[in-house]
Amino acid sequence: MSEKNIQDYIKQEISDSEVLLFMKGTPVFPQCGFSSTVVQILTQVGVKYKSIDVLSDNEIRQGIKEFSDWPTIPQLYIKGEFVGGCDIITEMYQSGELNTFLESKGIELQKPSI
């Protein structure tokens, strides 16, 4: 894909998904501790999300860093807004801010069945 197409592709994916996680690997097989941490948090919070494995396409891996001006992966987008990487999502989860933020955006949370 050309540079422009990559940025268009990323923009499209972000606007098409309520919650979108750019990560290394997949939710079932995360390939990095930071990505795995965010996957576990999203599972605990009980939010449905789409994930994109940046390891499957190096152009996406570099393109997303340029798109958000953020040097690392994972990157979490909620309703088109870049919310943060592992540190910020962990901090938000621990303070309860992540739940509040998701609910404020009208996103349904399913409590995990214990």
Partner: protein
């Protein structure tokens, strides 16, 4: 190619002069650190912007030489690293 804690602290202070920086090596490979950066400049900007300021201070090393920096930022001087 790794980085030293001192190198990280001096880069951050170079572009955020009033920053108070606490740093811990998570592993002794010069690649995994956790850091707390406190600065007045973080007031009125959100968390993403605060972290972006620190990443800019690190002049592109974040995600390259520096693989992992568990970062915490705050404008409150009472904030603790752990």
């Amino acid at each position: 190619m790794a980085m030293s804690a001192d190198e990280i602290v001096s880069l951050i202070k170079e572009s955020i002069p009033d920053a108070k920086v606490e740093i811990q090596a998570l592993k002794d490979d010069g690649d995994h650190f956790s850091a707390l950066v406190i600065s007045e400049k973080f007031k009125n900007i959100n968390k993403v912007q605060q972290h972006q300021m620190v990443y800019k201070a690190l002049q592109g090393k974040m995600g390259e030489q520096l693989h992992a920096l568990a970062l915490k930022t705050s404008s409150d001087p009472q904030t603790k690293l752990t």
